[in-house]
């Protein structure tokens, strides 16, 4: 029985990770097309990211002579793995997370952070001054958006605990099963909105796009920390970037938009699962288009100092306001 479950989880896990990879790339294509259309351009084919990755897989993989090879080579894989693992802890629609019992929101946040660290380490290991600058920026950026992120996560957990949502406070499934919007009062709704906005503003930092395209800034530091990467390693990094966007959007979806279409229509059983599975990805795509594509197209890039100021003061302030509102909501 044990073995069967493990086997099942293994299969389901691999399938989900594969799906996540494909969807992430697909979204990348959608993102590029929409971005192009918004700029009145034709844009690349939908499957362009797939071509890119396939091509990179076949390209020569250069390890710069001065780089520390083992870190340089392992960093992209670690980064990718850490991003893939995130999806194992993510409930998809009405389906529970594959490894739901073993990890929760904290682990996911850690994985997101770890992924950034891996990329930074890879950048540092390439011994290129520009990659160095990029990696440093990545680290600073990470330190900056962590406060709002942590506040949002803790507050959500606290909400789950204090409002007595059934299930474990930090577990994402808790939020899927019981939309937070239903349990809080008026001030709470406002607080949740603050948290949602804070989270949305964290997305550019997490995905390194748009106004937070600082560690890779092509026109400033020439792709920054990935400057020395090529071939397979670069493909892994590109996948990681795509997955990061998907992951963070999925988190937003799970936390704030858990609405189940299946339950709404009154489906049950297989149909419910299947419909919600699809519905979940639709929601994620919508979130992605709004928070990634649209934001990145309409904003220029900040400087790293401005970015960390923005996160430490503005976004953190917003998230703390959300936290206070929710506390007030609970107490009164």
């Amino acid at each position: 029985m044990m073995i069967l479950t493990i086997l099942l989880k293994l299969v389901a896990g691999s399938a989900l990770m594969l799906l996540a990879l494909l969807l992430a790339l697909l979204f990348d294509g959608v993102d590029r097309i929409i971005n192009a259309r918004m700029q009145r351009r034709w844009g690349p084919p939908l499957f362009q990211p797939f071509y890119d990755i396939l091509k990179l897989l076949g390209k020569e993989n250069i390890v710069p002579r001065r780089a520390i090879a083992w870190i340089f080579n392992s960093a992209p894989w670690m980064a990718l793995a850490s991003m893939l693992v995130v999806f194992l802890y993510m409930p998809v629609g009405s389906l529970p997370a594959i490894l739901g019992g073993e990890g929760d929101l904290v682990l996911i946040l850690y994985m997101l952070g770890f992924c950034g660290v891996c990329m930074a380490l890879g950048g540092f290991a390439s011994s290129n001054p520009i990659a160095n600058v990029g990696a440093q920026r990545e680290m600073i950026l990470m330190m900056s958006y962590e406060l709002p992120l942590a506040v949002v996560a803790s507050t959500m957990a606290w909400v789950a605990y204090r409002y007595g949502l059934p299930g474990e406070a930090w577990n994402l499934e808790t939020f899927v099963a019981n939309p937070v919007w239903n349990v809080v009062g008026k001030a709470g709704i406002l607080g949740l909105l603050c948290l949602l906005f804070a989270m949305v503003l964290v997305v550019p930092g997490e995905t390194g796009k748009g106004l937070m395209d600082i560690p890779e800034a092509k026109t400033e530091i020439l792709e920054g920390l990935i400057i020395e990467y090529s071939g397979v390693n670069l493909a892994m990094l590109k996948l990681t970037f795509a997955l990061r966007a998907l992951a963070i959007s999925a988190i937003i979806t799970v936390l704030f938009f858990p609405l189940s279409l299946g339950k709404l229509i009154g489906f049950s059983g297989c149909f419910l699962y299947a419909l919600d599975f699809l519905w979940f990805w639709v929601k994620v795509f919508v979130v992605l288009i709004v928070v990634v594509t649209f934001m990145r197209s309409s904003l220029g890039r900040l400087k790293i100092g401005q970015a960390s100021h923005f996160y430490w003061i503005n976004v953190a302030g917003l998230s703390i306001a959300g936290m206070l509102l929710l506390s007030i909501d609970r107490i009164f």
């Binding site: 351009r41 690349p44 362009q48 396939l54 091509k55």
Partner: protein, 155 residues
């Protein structure tokens, strides 16, 4: 990946890096124009990348000054194989108006192997697109030859 399979995918995703080795900028602004909305070379899956490490295509402009010669070589080496070199503009192809000087080492094909020349001074953006298409044809040609060779072996 098998080479012929790979050559099928490569032309769909050409990443370009440019090197100005002493040009007058005329070609460079036309290259920039190719990414602008009117010409939008991203349609063909191409994009400008910031570093030679990520590139498949090296676009060179300019008659190669002495100072830039080593840098050009270095960029060329930094591009992972397989790679394509496209010279845009006549000054890179032959020197153009810069035909006699003490500080020029060009034209480009004296320094690195060149696959396609796009003529013009500067070429219109469409001509650059056509030049890149030539590069794609060349890659496709190679692929055909490979496939023929493989069939020849099996027979």
């Amino acid at each position: 990946m098998k080479l012929e399979k790979y050559l099928e995918i490569l032309p769909k995703s050409l990443w370009v890096t440019t090197c100005n080795s002493g040009s007058c900028n005329g070609c460079d602004i036309e290259i920039v124009a190719t990414i602008s909305p009117r010409y939008d070379i991203e349609r063909f899956g191409m994009k400008l990348v910031g570093t030679p490490r990520h590139a498949d295509v090296l676009v060179v402009t300019g008659p190669v000054t002495t100072y830039m010669k080593d840098r050009l070589l270095r960029i060329y080496h930094q591009i992972p194989d397989p790679k394509v070199v496209v010279v845009v503009g006549n000054c890179g192809a032959s020197g153009d108006v810069f035909y006699r000087s003490y500080s020029l080492e060009g034209p480009v094909d004296r320094i690195i192997p060149v696959d396609v020349y796009v003529h013009g001074c500067p070429p219109r953006p469409e001509a650059i697109i056509e030049g890149v298409a030539k590069a794609v044809l060349k890659l496709e040609g190679k692929r055909k030859e490979l496939i023929c060779a493989a069939q020849g072996e099996t027979e």
